[in-house]
């Protein structure tokens, strides 16, 4: 029972790390980015190639995965995404689905369609008992890393100059521009960091999330759920939503494997219908 809770939290933490970048693009920049999972997949494959083909240590591959996804994210933002900021949601949807299809096919072409596993170092395998609760070492690592990321993110958003610029740009773009903040650059950087975090999450969670070319489509709905249920007014909303989703999903798969997906989608619809602003949002949007 507690083990399920633990696994669920690990899963939820992963979802959060991947989806928090999406919370910014979707919620703050009002951009429907269905391709967010593609960046997570790229990070995952980057780590896979490094660890399994070149024998790089697992921990060393994580920052590389982050940088790789972030660079590609920045490149995509500056060359492609930037044309779509003022377009309709439909055009954004078409464009990002197109990106997803293309990345899936490219990954399929170079790395094959089967599921890939990253060779974990021996000290991350297995589990130990902690007061009767079985704790997987790998999942413990995920929780620790993700918690660290969460704290760092909170500190950056709350206490740095960049954080206050981002919050200003999000609250009111026009006034932020008027105050001399380079909103485009703030958004581009945020987008890149969001993609980087997605890549890091993808690398970290390759074992749990099953890395294969159709990863972005499979998890697209999960990331969207996290963002739409959690709302976008803070980091805590998506965080709570992803923990809930993680626990719900793991528990659902464990106790009622036949109805797991069904329950989650239904809950999502109900939440969206009752509270279009998100479960934890504080009221009005712009």
């Amino acid at each position: 029972m507690l083990t399920i809770l633990f696994d669920g939290i690990a899963y939820g933490m992963l979802l959060f790390v991947i989806a928090c970048g999406l919370a910014v693009t979707l919620g703050l920049m009002n951009f429907v980015n269905l391709a967010h999972g593609a960046f997570a997949m790229l990070g995952g494959y980057c780590a896979y190639v490094l660890v399994n083909v070149y024998g790089v240590p697992f921990f060393a591959s994580l920052p590389v995965a982050f940088m790789f996804a972030a660079m590609i994210g920045l490149l995509a933002e500056r060359t492609l995404y930037v044309h779509f900021y003022n377009r309709s949601h439909l055009e954004q949807v078409l464009f990002t689905i197109g990106l997803v299809f293309m990345t899936s096919a490219v990954v399929d072409y170079f790395l094959g369609s089967q599921q890939r596993f990253i060779n974990l170092p021996a000290y991350l395998q297995g589990r130990f008992d902690f007061f009767g609760v079985g704790i997987g070492k790998y999942r413990l690592l995920i929780i620790l890393v993700c918690a660290l990321i969460l704290i760092v993110l909170q500190l950056i958003l709350g206490y740095t100059r960049f954080g206050s610029r981002l919050r200003a740009a999000v609250d009111d773009q026009r006034i932020a521009r008027g105050l001399g903040i380079n909103v485009n650059w703030v958004f581009a950087l945020t987008f890149a960091v969001g993609c980087g975090l997605a890549g890091l999450g993808g690398a970290l969670g390759a074992e749990i999330l099953s890395l294969e070319p159709h990863f972005p489509l499979k998890f697209m709905i999960y990331f969207l759920i996290v963002v739409s249920v959690g709302g976008t007014s803070s980091i805590t909303g998506p965080f709570l939503a992803s923990i809930l989703l993680g626990i719900g999903d793991v528990a659902g798969k464990y106790y009622a494997p036949r109805y797991g997906g069904f329950v989650i989608y239904t809950i999502m619809i109900v939440v969206l219908v009752l509270r279009p602003q998100g479960l934890f949002a504080r009221g009005t949007s712009k």
């Binding site: 979707l26 078409l94 689905i97 990106l99 293309m102 899936s104 969207l224 997906g261 989608y265 279009p276």
Partner: protein
């Protein structure tokens, strides 16, 4: 100039728009001729016709009412399953099956429209996607009824109205699909050029103004959503009747995405966008799919990105227009 004249003028203008364009006559005559002239391509043509009908139903939503849907396959698949189950349990007469499937899918659309019509574009996207996913899960889990992942087989297809056999007769079944499509296109054309159709476009243009001139926005949107769902259900039933198995692919995300892509390729808001789009899409799929079956996905993605970048609501035509425009500019410069 008095007001009577202007009203008269606009009425004549509207009537003119409602009348059939000569290209439409040409198109339908060509379609009828293809039954006799292209016997080797009937399988492909049947696919094109069915996808066109499906895309038409999405066009009613997207092109006329401005409702974005990422889960339109929910109604397509539901119609297909209903038609198959009806044929297995009651009668295999195709027209009855179509009507039942249309009514059932319409009722599902009516019920779900209440969920879809709240909130913004983004919420609608998520909710339609969610509905399709739930329908997929239901079809997957109720395997005692739907066959689950194995699909539903053994559906009897009797002669149409008891006299016109279509089972395993490609020419006849293509003719049957074409006639159904023609009737439904005819009805759709009447719908979009009725006052109802114009009120939809008003809502799409500006919901606030539409409601302040007295259009009951929500009722109109519910109505068009129901009609579109019903159309999608009939398209699904047609596919079920012309292919031997109804499976989960009838209802999956790929189908919702494909139909959206076809409609966008062809352009929204003039009913025939789906025909152009599905014809281009399926023919391209046949050719590119023959060369690199695995990486067809890449080219769909590429097409989507290019269309999203350059085309607005006229699909491929706006790309042609842009190229033409660019050529003209080049000529004008020196």
């Amino acid at each position: 100039m008095n007001t009577g004249n202007t009203v008269q003028d606009s009425v004549t203008a509207l009537k003119k728009k409602r009348a059939w364009h000569w290209l439409e006559y040409v198109f339908w005559l060509a379609a009828a001729a293809s039954v006799f002239l292209l016997p080797s391509q009937h399988a492909l043509l049947t696919q094109i016709a069915i996808w066109s009908l499906f895309a038409l139903s999405l066009d009613l939503l997207l092109g006329y009412a401005g409702i974005v849907s990422l889960g339109h396959a929910a109604y397509f698949g539901f119609g297909a399953y209903v038609a198959a189950l009806f044929a297995i349990n009651f009668t295999g007469e195709p027209i009855t099956g179509l009507i039942v499937a249309g009514i059932a899918a319409g009722l599902l659309g009516l019920a779900t429209s209440l969920l879809v019509l709240r909130g913004t574009d983004l919420t609608r996207l998520m909710v339609t996607l969610g509905i399709a996913l739930v329908m997929y899960e239901i079809a997957n889990q109720m395997s005692w009824l739907t066959g689950g992942a194995d699909g539903l087989t053994g559906m009897p297809v009797n002669p149409v109205l008891g006299i016109f056999p279509i089972y395993f007769r490609p020419a006849n079944s293509y003719a049957y699909v074409l006639i159904v499509c023609f009737v439904l296109f005819f009805v759709a054309k009447r719908i979009v050029h009725s006052p109802f159709g114009y009120s939809l476009r008003a809502i799409k243009g500006n919901p606030l103004r539409a409601s302040s001139i007295g259009i009951p926005n929500n009722l109109r949107l519910i109505a068009v959503y129901t009609i579109a769902a019903s159309y999608a259900g009939i398209a699904g039933a047609l596919l079920a009747q012309t292919t031997p198995v109804v499976s989960l692919t009838y209802i999956d995300f790929q189908r919702s995405a494909d139909v959206l892509l076809m409609l966008i390729i062809g352009g929204t808001g003039y009913l025939y966008g789906g025909v152009v789009g599905s014809a281009l899409f399926l023919v391209a799929q046949k050719f590119i799919g023959n060369i690199t079956p695995q990486y067809w996905e890449f080219w769909i993605g590429f097409a989507l990105v290019v269309i999203a970048l350059f085309a607005r609501d006229r699909g491929v035509f706006s790309i042609f227009e842009r190229i033409l425009g660019a050529l003209r500019n080049d000529k004008a410069k020196p």
